[in-house]
Subunit: 181 residues, 2 copies
């Protein structure tokens, strides 16, 4: 039996063989995914996984609403698609990969970052902003991130944070659905 | 485009319209899933979601190895299949559901429990035992569980813990693959 997760064509199509130069360019890309996802009826979150050389590996958008499935956050989709593409359950077995997210990963996605085998996690908006908009981020503590750091994962927040936070505010103003458990 | 997750036939087949009487019977069921999954080449973890009346809603096994995908822990599979079956991204919108897991949920699955909308989480083996076997459980702290409790989720550990822990020890002795990030 197959459990099918619907990946929208637009998300599939933007995942080209592009090479990105720096953190800002990568962050702009995932912010644009979040913007597009809102237009398509989804939640205001985007993510992507890149190789060390800046090659785009996979794209994720929050597909909770489109698939009616609570765990389909942008980071989870990006990790599943990267694993599928590279045929591995541990990206670290194939090199150094990094995960970018438009917003600070929630408790679930923080854990997923660890299992994915990425060596770097970069995000834009802080969880405080996501919370202020109404999204429960779950039990994410400073020591949660410290745990990942001790495992050799680099964590960097606040990249293009003003742009990243603006999407969350826009989503609230447009009365977007806030889907908590 | 569809992202296909392969659900083994045996896991699909055991998910019948059965009604369970108490926590021990439910825990025995998810421990049996974990045992069967080891035989089928998977990781030593099983999970299931039940309605308040004890009706079996969905079954999950750790399918990381079978699907080559890091996020496919037993709890995640059980949540995805329950959401699919009931066509909702929040089980709490349809009543009180409970998630049983043979082993204490890892950091990712703990977060996923929150998003799923279950009202009760019950597990067998503690994370200390899973860790001692070699599985990194990620940043799960007492305050992580406290966070869920404050959200109205009941947490109960240690049900049939001896049986639940025995599977983990057996898996290690059989040199089962330990898949961390």
């Amino acid at each position: 039996m197959k459990l099918n997760i619907e990946i929208p064509d637009w998300l599939y199509d933007i995942c080209s063989d592009r090479v990105f130069l720096d953190d800002e360019e990568k962050m702009k890309f995932v912010i644009d995914i979040a913007k597009r996802n809102i237009k398509e009826g989804g939640g205001p979150f985007g993510a992507a996984i890149f190789s060390k050389k800046g090659e785009l590996v996979s794209c994720g958008a929050n597909l909770v609403l489109q698939n009616n499935m609570s765990v389909l956050h942008a980071e989870i989709i990006a990790i599943m698609l990267a694993d599928k593409k590279l045929n591995t359950f541990s990206l670290s077995s194939l090199g150094d990969f990094e995960l970018f997210s438009s917003s600070e990963p929630c408790a679930m996605c923080l854990g997923a970052c660890l299992w994915s085998g990425v060596k770097r996690v970069v995000f834009g908006a802080s969880k405080e902003i996501a919370k202020s908009v109404g999204f429960d981020e779950g039990p994410v503590f400073e020591q949660s991130w410290d745990y990942l750091k001790k495992k050799g994962i680099e964590i960097k927040g606040g990249v293009l944070s003003t742009d990243a936070e603006a999407i969350l505010y826009e989503y609230r103003q447009s009365n977007g659905i806030i889907y908590n458990g």
